[in-house]
Structures are given as structure tokens and as C-alpha cells.
Symmetry: none
Subunit: 413 residues, 2 copies
């Protein structure tokens, strides 16, 4: 089954927005045993007609993103209907949903949104709980030699939930269940992708019918085993024995969900005392639904005075060792434990950059402490010389992984 992707959006070609759809679809297709044969990006406007005419005869499925919005250069829906000779019919229930969405946010629905409620006859409406324009599935039509068409919204936060809930299952159905290989994901923290590969590949080589996939980000690597059930089991045993304490989870569960599950299992809570991450750790913890059970409060103590007044970090500690030191983060974490009454506390202080570094403490330096009731406080210096936002994300992931190790009774160093 040949699959192509067509992304519409002038902003993608102007370089205003990075095209993440192509990669996302590639990963999803892989799960189905499919490959994307070609990906094309075109501007908004008439070019969609030209590209679809080229794609129709050579492909079985086309995933189209963008061009479903209310403005005059969004014409994917109209072009597809015209090419297939399908009438566009106003779907009153979509229109009602769109209008309701506008009203509930205090806006007056605009007439130009009506177009978003038009559906080519015979098309399946793909609901969009995260935006106004629904997606559309237009089945293959042998009379006009058209392949299966999926018309999907451009914004990733609308596209991805729709794809997962409605498109992936439809494609899985087309592919059939027995051709899709099994797969298992290992989320591993603190081991580089190339280190992982050079250690594991010789060990896994003898296993037949096994394919490996890697995806690295923010200090975490996803190792995906793909193959027969027996191959995956054999490989899993090896991965587990090599990386026992580094495996965050054997699934796609996010770090903050793992943390929440571990804390909830112990009836425990965590609090945060953040300097350089500026609230990102607390925000990550609270990204998991139900986090109020394990997280009651957190502190962003950006200024030295805040570290002193809110967390009780002694003035001498700040003066003698500086805000970016083991001594300060230990005092922050223990103060946070005391003030919050939580069972565990994470404290971080570092230099996110791009300015503020010195020879002794260059940009990227960070100290992290984990304090827990009745246990010795852990603290260590780390170095992440990356851009400011990546620094915040990496330090957050690192801190949560240290808490994970503490909750599992693993050594932190």
C-alpha cells in the first residue's frame, strides 16, 4: 500500500513553522508496517489541485494537512470535491458545533466559518474536539481513480488527537491486522543513543526478525523493538538486564505520568523549588491528569531574596557558595520540604543563559537536589550547554528521573 503525504501551508515554505507532520506520520505508518513514499509541501491556494492530480494515479492513500480553515486560500475541501465530482453539502450539526464553540469563548461566529461545515457527499466526518474545522475521510473511488484521501487540520494539537482516534484505526483496518508487526517501546533515561546502539546491537544481532528504532530527546531515548512476539521477548530480556535502573518505562508513558503513578502508589507527595527552570518542573508534573493527588504546591524562587524569604536558604549559604551550588540547592530542597509538608522535594538552580555564565560556572551549569523525609538529601552538579529552552526542558527531565530513581530505591549517582 503506497502512502503519500501532502502538506499545504505557505508558512511551512516560508520557514515560519517547522513541518513536524511528515515525521509524525512516518513514525505512525511504521507502526502499521507502512512507509511514506513521498512527502510534498505546497503553498496555500491552487497548487493543491496540481499535486493531487499527480498523486492520484500512483498512490493508494494520501494524507493531506491544512487548507481546511476559514480563509480564502484554504481550498482543499473544495478542490477534492470538484476533482471527485462530489457535491458539497452543509452539515448542520458541524455548523452548530462550530457556532457553539465560538459563542462559548465569547466570540460572534463569522459567516466565513460556514465553509468549514461543508462536507463532500459520501465523505466521513472526522471530529475535531480541538478546533473548528473537522477532518474528512473520502474513500477511494475507482470511477475517478482516486485513492483514499484523509483531509486533516494543520495545527499539530488538532491533527494528532484526530489522527490517533480516527485515522490510525482506519488505516490499520485497511492494512489488515496480521501484517502489522508487534512492537514494544523502552523509554530509557541518561544513556546516549549512540552508546545504547553500540552496546545493544551486537547483543541483539543474533535475534532473527527483529528491527530496532531509536528516537532521542532531552536525555531520554526511546528504543523501539519491532518484530515477532518471540523476538521482542528475547530482546526485552537483554535490554532489561543491561539497563535495569535506566528504563523509565516499557511503554509510551510520559515521565510525569510515571512519577505520578509511583508517588500515588506510596500515597506520597512532591513539591518543587525552582530557580533556573522557572516553573517548568511544576508545570510538567501538573501536565499529568490527576496530579493534584501528588502535587499540592511549588515555588519559583528566581531571586536570591525569594530563596531566602520563602525557602529559608541562609544568607551565608548564598554568599559563601553562590546561588548555583550544591549547598544552595540542598537548602532550597530541605526548605521546600519543611514549608510544603510534602514527602519529597526537587530543587534546581543553574545558569540557563545565554548570559550570566562565568569561567567557573559557565552557561549550562546546574545543581539539582532531591530531598525526602527521613533520607539524606542528594545533590549534584550537571552541565547542559544548550539553548535556554532546551536547558529548562533537559533539567526538568533530569530532575524527574532523579526522583524516579529515589522512589524506586535506586542509587541516584
Amino acid at each position: 500500500m503506497r502512502v503519500e503525504v501532502v502538506n499545504t501551508g505557505t508558512e511551512l515554505l516560508l520557514g515560519k513553522v517547522v513541518n513536524t507532520h511528515a515525521g509524525y506520520f512516518g513514525q505512525e505508518m511504521f507502526k502499521l508496517g507502512l512507509r511514506i513514499q513521498r512527502q510534498t509541501t505546497i503553498p496555500d491556494g491552487g497548487e493543491i489541485r496540481v499535486v493531487l492530480q499527480e498523486c492520484f494515479p500512483r498512490t493508494d492513500v494520501i494524507l493531506i494537512t491544512g487548507g481546511l480553515g476559514p480563509t480564502s486560500d484554504d481550498i482543499t475541501r473544495e478542490v477534492v470535491a470538484e476533482m471527485l465530482g462530489l457535491e458539497l453539502i452543509l452539515d448542520e450539526s458541524i455548523l452548530a458545533t462550530i457556532n457553539e464553540m465560538f459563542r462559548s469563548r465569547g466570540y460572534t461566529p463569522s459567516k466565513s466559518n460556514d465553509r468549514q461545515a461543508m462536507v463532500p457527499e459520501g465523505a466521513v466526518v472526522l471530529e475535531n474536539p480541538n478546533g473548528t474545522a473537522p477532518g474528512l475521510y473520502v474513500p477511494a473511488n475507482s470511477e475517478v481513480d482516486s485513492p483514499h484521501l484523509f483531509l486533516l487540520p494543520g495545527p499539530p494539537r488538532e491533527l494528532k488527537p484526530m489522527f490517533e482516534a480516527l485515522v490510525f484505526p482506519k488505516l490499520a483496518e485497511m492494512v489488515g491486522t496480521d501484517t502489522a508487526p508487534e512492537s514494544r517501546n523502552f523509554r530509557i533515561y541518561g544513556v546516549g543513543e549512540s552508546t545504547l546502539a553500540s552496546k545493544l546491537e551486537p547483543l541483539l544481532q543474533p535475534i532473527a526478525d527483529l528491527e530496532l528504532g531509536y528516537c532521542a530527546r532531552l536525555g531520554e531515548v526511546d528504543l523501539r523493538l519491532i518484530g515477532t512476539s518471540a523476538a521482542i521477548e528475547a530482546a526485552s530480556t537483554i535490554v532489561r538486564s543491561e539497563y535495569a535502573e535506566d528504563i523509565v518505562v516499557e511503554s509510551e508513558e510520559a515521565m510525569e505520568e510515571v512519577i505520578q503513578r509511583l508517588l500515588a502508589g506510596k500515597g506520597a507527595t512532591v513539591s518543587t523549588a525552582e530557580s533556573c527552570t522557572g516553573g517548568y518542573i511544576a508545570s510538567s508534573i501538573t501536565n499529568a491528569s490527576g496530579s493534584s493527588q501528588v502535587f499540592h504546591q511549588g515555588f519559583v524562587t528566581y531571586a536570591n531574596e525569594a530563596k531566602r524569604d520563602i525557602l529559608g536558604v541562609p544568607e551565608e549559604t548564598l554568599e559563601d557558595f553562590g546561588a548555583v551550588s550544591n549547598e544552595t540547592v540542598i537548602a532550597m530542597a530541605e526548605g521546600c520540604l519543611r514549608v510544603s509538608g510534602a514527602d519529597h522535594a526537587i530543587a534546581v538552580s543553574g545558569i540557563a543563559g545565554p548570559t550570566g555564565g562565568s569561567d567557573e560556572k559557565p552557561v549550562g551549569t546546574v545543581h539539582v537536589a532531591i530531598a525526602s523525609k527521613g533520607q539524606e538529601t542528594f545533590a549534584k552538579r550537571y552541565f547542559n550547554p544548550v539553548d535556554r529552552l532546551s536547558f529548562k526542558m533537559r533539567v526538568t527531565r533530569l530532575s524527574l528521573d532523579l526522583l524516579r530513581r529515589r522512589l524506586l530505591g535506586f542509587p541516584l549517582d
Copy 2:
């Protein structure tokens, strides 16, 4: 001059690597007054021949990335030579450079690298100080109807320096200097994309040589005006008069940078008291480099006890009105102002979902308060029924925009 981009690389279609070339080229072309008309990604191997055959008749310049490496599926060089009927000639000086590079890194040069030293006759070698394979410029050839071809390496750290030093100047020469259009971006908060379009397009229609682009996200819309300097000025006057108070900035500056600039200009500070956003507002403010000047501390008061103990929200307020109410966010904001000593405070409390909603306060409900020294505290209920993460992002953007309006003396409601 029509420009297309062809990216080769199976890893791009598998989603192992995000394709950043397309965006990079887009930004560079824009500086030259050029647009990328189409971008195509194909796997390694024979597909390059098919795509080039399609592109040749319709375009003037093709930027090709990848396929210049030493492995058997890297065949761009050979395909181009064959299509244009050019002989491949071994360039001894390239070969010497490649071999030297291997030796200096302690590797033995492999015979397979010889292919990287082959140059189609008449092609211009583009030096690659950051890798083995040089790039190639093959001028347009009217006999075989081929456009200008740039064969460039795939890895960004090899591609970008080569593009800047050798490709950009060549393209600039082809284009000539005075054709580049100007552009201006308006970042507008709180007006839907469709409302904006239906109001502005009739007003801007009479202006010749003007193109409009929209990009919407999280309650914000970027409106891009592209055209002659006179057209942009005329259009800007209209946009400013229609949306005076909604224009966050006439540039690409991020909301948090605008906030920081406005606060710093007054020598003022802000603090945060967050419930449902869980630290995301503080984290957004501190994403801007230099934020320590205007942000000293923030509080994540997720539990009612934290709202009471840290911010002094009266127990009766929480009991009588609930945590998600104007009364509570006003008490949170004013408590935050008092505890932090900041000049302004943002407080939010709401229901991020997916659970925790009720008929009276469904998921998506949020109350936001802005308190400022010596001014009446503003509070209002909003509704953002989107997924949990989008909710946090939207409420953050909304809160920062309210602070922007307060700092500029605009009405908040």
C-alpha cells in the same frame, strides 16, 4: 524565478529526523525575494530520478539535499550526470582532501569514498569544510532543458555553512538585488483568524501589490503583510486603526518578551499565583532571557491549603465561592502582590480537565485576576474547553495579554 527543494533521505520519511532544511531554505529565499514553490521529500535510492524528471520542465532552480554520501543508496550525483549526459571525472584534489580528513581522524580512507570525489564535467565544486562530500552546482542547460541544480549535503552542520558561503551569493547574483518584497508581521491577541480575515480583507482589498498571510495559535494570530513598502504602510494604518489595543507587537517578538520589555521600561516586576496552569505562566515569563530583572518569584498553589497558607486566601472565600471563582483569584492575586512585594500579580484558577468539571463549572472554566499596586484588581471568568495542555497554554497566553493591556493602560474587559 521558480525554486523547488528536493530532500532525499529515508530517515526523514521514517520520522527519525525532522526536516529542518525546508524551513531554512524558505527563510533564505525570502531574503532574496524568492519563494519555494514546492518541497518534496523522497527516500534514498532511485526515486530521485523520477522527481527530477518531474521538476525539470517546471522550475528554474532546484536545491537538492542528501544523496552525496558513500553508501550505495546515495546516487544523486550519478543520476544528475546521467540525466544531463555529463561525464563524471575524478577530482584528485577533492580525493586528497577526503583522504586527509579520514587520516586526521584516525580512520583508514575507504575505497567507497572515491565516489564522493567524482564531479560531473562543467559542474562547480562547492567546498565542504565540515564533511567529506563536497556540494556541486550544475548550471542550467538549455539543450536538455535542465534548471540550475544545487547538490548539497544532508547534515545541517555541513549544509548551512556551504549554503551561506557559496549558494546564497550565487542565487543573489541570479536574482539581482532590487526585487525582494518587504514584509511586516502583526501579532494580534484575542481576535479569531476568521473574524480578522472577514473584517480586514474587504478593507485591504483596494491596496495593490499586497499579499496577506495568517498563522493562528493559542488565541493569537500572526497577520503577515507582504508587498511593496507603500502597500505595507497603507495596510498597516488600517490594521492599527481597527485593532489598536489587540496588537501585541508589530514584529515576531514573543508575548513574554513584550511583557518583559514593558515591565522593564517601567522598572516594575510581576509575580504569579497559579493553580490550574501549574507553573506554566512563570515558566513562560522566564523563557525570555533577562527575565530575572522583572520576575523574582512565583507560587504554584495547586491545593486549597496552599492558596490559604501561602497566599492568605480566606477559608470562607474558598468555602463560599469555591477555588474556581472571581473571589478566589482576586484573593490569590492580592495575596501574591503582598507576599512577593511585586508591582503586578497574575492569578489563575480553573478546571484543566479531563476530569473535575461540573454543570456549573465545566472543564475549560478558568478565572483570571490581575492585581497591581494602587489599582483596582481585575477578575473575569473565561472558557477554554480544549485538552489539558492546550488549556494551560491558552490560559497562560490570555493572562499575559491581560497584563500587557494593564501595562499599556488599555481596558482589560
